[in-house]
Amino acid sequence: MREMIQAIVEGDGDKALQETERALAQGANPLDLVSNGVLAAMDEVGARWRQGDLFIPEVIIAAEAAKEVMAVVKPHLSEDEVPTAGKVVIGTVKGDIHDIGKNIVKMMLEAGGFQVFDLGVDIPPEDFVEAVTRWKPDVLGMSALLTVTMLAMRDTIDALEKAELRDSTKVVVGGACVTSAFAGTIGADGYAADAASAVDLCRQLCSR
C-alpha cells in the first residue's frame, strides 16, 4: 500500500493502478485501501502542497491518480461500504468566471470521498438556492476571486436564509480575495485558504 500512496503523491497514475490491482489480487481489504490508502495519499498531497513542495499541476495530477484508483476499488466495495464523506454543491459566484481554484477544490473533495455537484461559474444566488433544494447537500461551497464579486457570497447566504435552507446546509467560502474575517462577517460556517484545507473543513463540518 505504501507504494500505491507513493505513486499517487508522485502523480504516477499507471503505477498507482498497478499497485492497487496487485494489492487487491493479494487480498487486501478494499475499504482499507480507500481509507488508509487513497485518503492518506491525498492528505499527504495536501500537506506537501502547504509546505511548498507541490504546486497546482502536481496536485491535479495526484488527485486524478487518486480518482482512478477509486474507480478500480469501488466495484470491490459493497453498496453501503462506498465511502461518502458527504455531499457538496460547489460553484463560482455571480459575476466571476475564475474556476481553476474551484475545480481543484472539487477534485480534492472527490478524491477525499465527497460527492460533488459542480454548478460551474457565474452562478447567481437563485441557482445556488435551487441546487441546494434539489440535492440537499451537507455543504454549499462558493468560490470568488474578485474583490467586487465577494459580496455575491453574502447575497447567496441571504437567499438561503430566505428560502429557509440555511440551517440545513453548511456554507464554506474560499478564493484568493476571501479572508476568514470576511467569511465571518457574511455569516459563513467556514473559510478555507486552499483546496486541502477545504477538504479538512468539509470533513469537520460533515462529522458534526
Binding site: P57, D99, N103
Partner: protein, 622 residues
C-alpha cells in the same frame, strides 16, 4: 495612516488597506519620548485581519499596520524605510520614431488693422473678434473660426495692449483656443501616459517634432490601492470616492506638467495641445466617469470613442480653452494605452507575426500577423510589480533590480535601482526589497543554479547558508544579507514568492498562446516588450522562466503607449488611425477561451514550455 499623512509621511498601501500586504507596518515606541507618553495601548486594539497578519509574521512583534490601527492617544511611531512611499524612478526614455508633422494646433501671427498704427480705419465699427477673424481668414486658408468665451474675455485688452499684434492658436482649423501677445511661434504639446503605477509626461515641440523634456511620477492614486480593482472598489464604495480619485490624479498631472515645462524653460500655459493615454480605468478616473461597469461582468465602459475635452474642465492648469485629446479604448481591460502601443508599433504593417506584451498588474497582449490584429488582457496579478511577494517592492529607490547567482558557489550579487555597481557581499547598499525585474532574475537564476526545479520546488538536497527553512517548514533563499541592506534583516525569496511568479507568468504565457492559436501559430516571429517594466527586464531571464512562447527576436521598445500619444500629438492623422484601429482590432476575452485554463496550468512550470505528462489528459477537464 491618516495621522502619518497629515504629518507629510506617505505610507505604502499596496493592498489598499486590506491588511494583507503589511507594507504599511509601523512600530510604536513604548515609554516617554520628549514629554510624550507613548504606548501600544494608545492605539485601537488589533482587529481580526491584523492579528491574522501578525500571526504569520512573528518577526514583526511590536509593529502595527497603519491602515488599521487608529490613534486613540499620544503615540510616537517609528516608520521603517520600507514602509514609506518614495519617489518613483522608472525608465522614461522614449524611442524616437519618424512621423510627419501635422499637429492639430497651429499658430498664426496677425496684425489686426484697427489697432495698428494707421488708427481707426474703414472697419472701425467691427467687433474685436470679427476683426480678428476677418484678418486671419483673409491671410490664411481658414474659414468659419469660432472661439469660446474664455478667449473672448481676454481678447479686448490683449488687442489693445499689443496694438492688434497677436499670435493665434487654431485647433483643427476651426477653433481659436489661445491668443498670445506679439509674435510667439513656440508651439508646445504634451503627451501623457497615465498608468496604474506611474504617470509619464513628454513635452513636445510641435514646430520641429522634438521631445523637449520628459518626467515620470508615481500615480498618487496608489494610496487607494495598487491594482485597479481596489481603486474601483474605493470609487464605488467610499462617499465621494470617485471625485477624490479624480482630484488626486489631476493634481498629480498639474505637478507633472509644471515640472516637465520647467525642465525645458517654459510654463504650463505655453502648452496648446494635450494627448492622453491610459488604461480604461485610469481614463475613466481622469474624466470622472463611474468605473462601476468596468468592475463586473459584462465589463462595460462608459465610453469607448476618442474624446476632445477642454483641459480646464478636467481641472488642468493650462490655458483655459486648450483641448485634451483622449485616445479611444478597446475594452474594459484593453485601454487607450494599448491603442497607443498599437499605434506606436504600427503592427498592422509588419508582415511577420509579432507579439507585443505590455506588462503590469494587468498584462496587455497584442498580436499582429496573418493579416489580423488581435488583443487581449490577462490578469497576471501584482507579482511583476512587487506585490504578493514577501520582499517585493516597486521599482523605486532601494529596489534590487538585477540579480546573478553563481551556479557553483550559490553566491549572489545584485544591483539596486540607481546604482550601476554590483554588490560584493560586504558593502552596505540601500537595498530595501526586490522589484519585478529583480524577482524574475532571481527565479531564473535559481532555476539555472538548480536551487529550484522546473515545478517551482526548492531542492532540499542543497546545503548553503543562504537556503534555510522557516518555522512553518517552507524554504527561503537569501538574496541580500542584512548587513548589505538598508534594513536590519535579510532580503529573501520564499517558496510562495516563486509560486506567485509562476501564476503571473503562466497567465501571460497562456494569454499569448491563445492569441497565437487564433492565427494558426504556436510561436511568434518577434516579441516586443513594451512599458518601463518591459524595458528593465532581462530578456534572457524571461526566456529562462518561460514568460512567453519562445522566440529569438525579443526587443524592449520602451514606453510605447506614451509614444503612441506623442504620435497623435505630432500628426492628426494618427488620431484617425487610432480610431479606425479600435474598429479593426479583434478583442478576445480569455474568460471565454476554453483552452486558456489548460495552457495556464501547463505553463505554471518554469522553463520553456513542455506539455505536462499528465496521466490521462486530466488537464482537459479543467
Amino acid at each position: 495612516m491618516k495621522a502619518c499623512e497629515t504629518l507629510g509621511i506617505q505610507l505604502e498601501r499596496v493592498c489598499g488597506e486590506k491588511a494583507t500586504c503589511g507594507k504599511c507596518k509601523v512600530r510604536v515606541e513604548e515609554g516617554f519620548h520628549q514629554e510624550i507618553y507613548s504606548s501600544q495601548k494608545h492605539l485601537s486594539p488589533m482587529v481580526e485581519e491584523e492579528r491574522e497578519f501578525f500571526s504569520q509574521h512573528s518577526d514583526l512583534t511590536g509593529y502595527r499596520l497603519a491602515c488599521l490601527a487608529r490613534v486613540m492617544g499620544d503615540v510616537v511611531i517609528f516608520v521603517p524605510e520600507d514602509s514609506r512611499l518614495t519617489k518613483h524612478i522608472a525608465w522614461k526614455g522614449l524611442t524616437e520614431r519618424f512621423v510627419s508633422l501635422l499637429p492639430v494646433v497651429r499658430k498664426y501671427y496677425v496684425e489686426v488693422p484697427p489697432f495698428g498704427r494707421e488708427g481707426v480705419g474703414r472697419e472701425g465699427a467691427r467687433a474685436d473678434f470679427e476683426s480678428l477673424v476677418s484678418e486671419i481668414t483673409t491671410r490664411f486658408a481658414l474659414s468659419d473660426l469660432r472661439a469660446d468665451h474664455y478667449v473672448l474675455r481676454a481678447l479686448p485688452s490683449l488687442l489693445r495692449e499689443t496694438e492688434g499684434k497677436v499670435t493665434v492658436t487654431v485647433w483643427m482649423n476651426k477653433e481659436i483656443v489661445k491668443i498670445e501677445p506679439g509674435y510667439w511661434d513656440v508651439n508646445l504639446g504634451v503627451a501623457i501616459d497615465v498608468g496604474t503605477t506611474s504617470i509619464a509626461a513628454y513635452l513636445c515641440d510641435l514646430v520641429n517634432g522634438q521631445t523637449l523634456a520628459a518626467e515620470v511620477m508615481s500615480n498618487p492614486q496608489i494610496r487607494f490601492g495598487e491594482d485597479v480593482i481596489s481603486r474601483i472598489s474605493y470609487a464605488i464604495l467610499a462617499p465621494n470616492g470617485l471625485e477624490e480619485l479624480q482630484i488626486i490624479v489631476i493634481d498629480g498631472l498639474n505637478t507633472l506638467l509644471s515640472q516637465v515645462t520647467k525642465q525645458a524653460g517654459f510654463q504650463p500655459k505655453d502648452i496648446s495641445d494635450v494627448c492622453i493615454v491610459g488604461n480604461t480605468c485610469m481614463h475613466h478616473f481622469l474624466l470622472g466617469l463611474t468605473p462601476y461597469g468596468l468592475s463586473r461582468a459584462p465589463y462595460r465602459a462608459v465610453v469607448q470613442r476618442a474624446l476632445d475635452i477642454k483641459a480646464r474642465e478636467l481641472g488642468l492648469d493650462l490655458s483655459p480653452s486648450v483641448y485634451a485629446y483622449f485616445l479611444p479604448t478597446v475594452a474594459s481591460f484593453v485601454g487607450a494605452d494599448a491603442v497607443g502601443v498599437m499605434l506606436a508599433m504600427e503592427p498592422n504593417l509588419e508582415a511577420e507575426t509579432v507579439l507585443t506584451i505590455d506588462l503590469g498588474t494587468n498584462g496587455e497582449l497584442i498580436l499582429s500577423g496573418e493579416g489580423r490584429l488581435l488583443c487581449t488582457s490577462c490578469a497576471c496579478g501584482p507579482a511583476f510589480e512587487g506585490g504578493q511577494v514577501s520582499s517585493g517592492m516597486r521599482a523605486t529607490a532601494g529596489a534590487i533590480e538585477k540579480v546573478r547567482i553563481d551556479p557553483d558557489t550559490l553566491e549572489v550579487k545584485f544591483q539596486v535601482v540607481g546604482s550601476p555597481s554590483w554588490s560584493d557581499g560586504q558593502r552596505k547598499t540601500n537595498a530595501k526589497g526586490i522589484c519585478g525585474s529583480g524577482i524574475i532574475d532571481v527565479v531564473a537564476e535559481m532555476l539555472r543554479a538548480g536551487i529550484i526545479h522546473a515545478d517551482g520546488r526548492f531542492d532540499s538536497s542543497i546545503s548553503s547558508p543562504r537556503l534555510r527553512q522557516t518555522a512553518q517548514g517552507t524554504s527561503v533563499f537569501v538574496i541580500a544579507w542584512a548587513h548589505e541592506t538598508a534594513l536590519d534583516r535579510d532580503i529573501t525569496i520564499s517558496n510562495s514568492d516563486v509560486r506567485a511568479i509562476q501564476l503571473a507568468k503562466a497567465a501571460v504565457y497562456a494569454g499569448a498562446s491563445v492569441l497565437l492559436r487564433k492565427v494558426g501559430k504556436t510561436l511568434p516571429d518577434k516579441v516586443l516588450l513594451a512599458g518601463s517594466f518591459g524595458t528593465s527586464l532581462d530578456v534572457d531571464s524571461c526566456r529562462t522562466i518561460g514568460l512567453f512562447p519562445g522566440c529569438d527576436e525579443v526587443y524592449a521598445v520602451g514606453n510605447a503607449a506614451g509614444n503612441g500619444a506623442r504620435l497623435c500629438l505630432l500628426n492628426r492623422e494618427k488620431r484617425l488611425e487610432a480610431e479606425s484601429m479600435v474598429q479593426k482590432v479583434e478583442h478576445l476575452e480569455l474568460a471565454k477561451e476554453k483552452e486558456f485554463s489548460r495552457i495556464f496550468l501547463e505553463a505554471l512550470s518554469l522553463g520553456q514550455y513542455k506539455p505536462l505528462a499528465s496521466t490521462k489528459g486530466s488537464m482537459k477537464d479543467l
